[in-house]
């Protein structure tokens, strides 16, 4: 019984947002919402916990700046001491201005790339993965809300029809 779900399909993001708010207010459990594009504020309306990706980004950035510092220090100062800008001090800190762009770039590089990889892993996305969205129209111009059914099929169908859904289906999920 518990693997029965309702697919309520909408054709406008504003109607979808209102529907999501109403559904939450009526204490129905939203499993997932599929949209063709990111809908602003949807995560908050669904009550999803704030993302922790920002914390990851900060940590990755710290790794990036450390790698840059260690790398530049090894390459330019220790392994093959270089005369930078006519100032042969052979000290990392005194030549630091020359290394700042690299430190900055690697901070951004690490933060950006590792954040994307983290996001893919967290979203269980990888090459050749089969699409999860239940209706191809959600990749075009329709929005789909998936809601769990708990012996209240009839009630839910009429509820979603009242929220402006263009289509309401009950599906047996395996």
């Amino acid at each position: 019984m518990s693997n029965k779900v309702i697919y309520a399909i909408y054709n406008d993001d504003d109607i979808l947002m209102d529907a999501v708010k109403k559904t939450r207010a009526a204490h129905h459990h939203i499993e997932e919402v599929f949209t063709p594009f990111p809908v602003h504020g949807l995560d908050k309306a669904m009550g999803i916990a704030p993302t922790r990706l920002a914390i990851c980004a900060f940590l990755y950035g710290c790794v990036g700046i450390s790698v840059a510092t260690a790398m530049m220090n090894y390459i330019m100062i220790q392994d093959w001491p270089q005369d930078i800008g006519g100032k042969p001090s052979f000290s990392y800190i005194e030549n630091m201005p020359a290394f700042v762009p690299i430190m900055f770039e690697l901070t951004v590089f690490f933060a950006a790339h590792l954040m994307v990889i983290t996001f893919y892993m967290r979203s269980k996305l990888w090459p050749f993965k089969e699409a999860e969205n239940p209706d191809v129209r959600t990749t075009d111009d329709h929005f789909l809300m998936e809601v769990a059914v708990n012996d209240n099929e009839e009630e839910l169908i009429s509820f979603f029809q009242s929220t402006g859904a263009v289509e309401v289906k009950v599906i047996d999920k395996h």
Partner: protein, 491 residues
């Protein structure tokens, strides 16, 4: 409608009064002649820490001297020394003849006189130099505060124009706040223009290239005389100031007319006007930064200086919008401004702090890397003589905002924003201080009565003008086509 609270009004009057007293004190206590300076230097070198300071000042002296006379020989140096005695307020025709006579006479004098005389001349030259620096100090303090507050209101005007041109949906509820802050622009422009005129009439020595003596003895400045001369310079200043003020006037007028109209005609007019203003602004801003700030060190130039100055006053402007908005919100007169608007302003504060740092560093790194003597003097002066304000500005304008404003939740907390805002504004005042003071007072800088009083005076005036302007019109641009979107702005 907002009413100017009597407490704030009293505060602004107190600030202005204290400011005027302090500025007056600064001018009255500035040394009048080289005898005063001699006494002052003697007192300094007898004091506990005087010795070291004096030594530092002489090194700085020679450095500054070499900067001023640059690639000229010792002969010209002597010319400068003897001509410097001529009072800077003397009229130019007199000075010109004096110069010619000296040019003829100076060579035999140099050759005849012995070592003793030249040492004495050196001493007098040094005293004169210090005298000029000390006489410049109250002027520079006034100038820094004056240009800073004027540019803050200009920056707000630019921010407002960008919102108009971008047809931004989030910001129309803040338009009247921005217009209120730009009310200071006409007042600030007039005062600033008067200060420029006074410099032009040789009441102070802020711009050494305005002094015909200096131009005559300095080939580098003489080569720039086609651009850096008083008439052209003051005409440019007038065009820029009038242009900015015209935009402010008409843009505000259209915005108010839009409140009562039935169509969007006034709004469309404002859109076009703002687009034209932004084009005019970005050109005039660059030239303004060379004219009013970079020319204080007339030997040195940097191609990104215009952007650097822009970044500095623009982040200050956004911070000012945020602080004024928070104040009005706390008073309960901005019912449609929600935390999302505040959050967006805080994001701009954070972003433009980083932008300022980017330009600060870009300018520094290229000059540091190339290590060309005529360029690095600019930074050597600042690092050796202005170490604390130079690096302190980076801490206040970059490290502090970076650490405190990077957190999303902090961008919505009033006291965090007020604290960050005060630090950012202070930091950018110091940034302007660093841009202007080394060229005008050299190692004689101090953030003392003159500086603080100047800031207090202009702060008081700013508060008075801005909040008086806010009481005149409703604080909601109710017929702006984007006002509904702005009211419901939600991040």
């Amino acid at each position: 409608m907002y009413t100017f609270s009597s407490k704030l009004k009293t505060l602004s009057f107190i600030l202005m009064a204290v400011g005027v007293l302090g500025i007056g004190y600064g001018f009255l206590t500035a040394p009048k002649d080289i005898q005063d300076v001699e006494k002052l230097l003697a007192a300094e070198s007898h004091g506990g820490h005087g010795e070291a300071k004096h030594e530092a000042s002489t090194t700085a002296e020679s450095e500054h001297e070499s900067d001023a006379t640059h690639n000229l020989g010792s002969e010209e140096k002597n010319v400068e020394g003897s001509t410097a005695v001529v009072t800077p307020t003397g009229d130019s025709s007199k000075v010109d003849t004096a110069k010619v006579v000296e040019d003829v006479q100076i060579e035999p004098v140099v050759k005849k006189e012995g070592h003793v005389v030249s040492e004495e001349a050196d001493h007098t030259e040094h005293l004169n130099h210090v005298l000029h620096q000390l006489q410049n100090k109250p002027w520079s303090a006034l100038y820094v505060a004056c240009i800073f507050f004027m540019l803050v209101s200009l920056g707000v005007l630019v921010f407002y124009a960008i919102q108009q041109v971008a047809q931004a949906g989030w910001s129309p509820v803040l338009f009247r706040v921005m217009q209120g802050i730009t009310a200071y622009l006409p007042v600030g422009s007039v005062i600033f223009f008067i200060v420029l005129l006074l410099s032009g009439f040789h009441l102070n020595h802020l711009f050494i290239w305005l002094d015909p003596e200096v131009v005559a003895s300095d080939k580098l400045i003489a080569n720039k005389a086609g651009y850096l001369n008083f008439p052209f310079w003051i005409i440019r200043a007038a065009i820029f100031l009038i242009g900015w003020n015209l935009y402010r006037y008409y843009s505000r007028k259209n915005c108010l007319a839009q409140d009562e109209s039935n169509d969007n005609l006034n709004y469309k007019k404002n859109f076009k006007l703002s687009a034209m203003f932004l084009v005019f602004f970005i050109v005039s801003e660059s030239i303004m930064s060379w004219d009013w700030i970079m020319s204080i060190d007339p030997h040195w130039f940097s191609t990104l200086f215009g952007w650097y100055v822009f970044a500095s006053f623009f982040v200050s402007s956004i911070t000012t919008i945020a602080l004024v908005t928070l104040y009005l919100k706390a008073k309960g007169v901005l019912e449609h401004v929600n935390t999302s608007h505040i959050h967006d302003l805080a994001k701009f504060m954070f972003g433009f702090s980083i932008f300022w740092t980017y330009l600060w560093f870009s300018q520094y790194m290229l000059i540091w890397y190339a290590n060309i003597p005529e360029e690095v003097t600019y930074y050597i002066t600042r690092i050796e003589l202005y170490n604390l304000p130079f690096f302190g500005a980076v801490v206040m304008n970059f490290v502090f905002p970076l650490l405190i404003l990077i957190n999303t939740d902090f961008k919505r907390i009033t006291w965090v924003l007020v604290m960050a805002g005060v630090v950012i504004l202070g930091g950018h005042y110091i940034d302007f201080f660093n841009m202007i003071m080394p060229g005008t007072v050299g190692d004689r800088w101090f953030i003392g009565i003159s500086e603080i009083a100047s800031v207090l005076f202009f702060l008081g005036l700013f508060i008075y003008v801005v909040f008086t302007a806010m009481t005149k019109v409703p604080l909601l641009a109710k017929r702006n086509p984007f006002i509904e979107e702005s009211k419901h702005f939600h991040y």
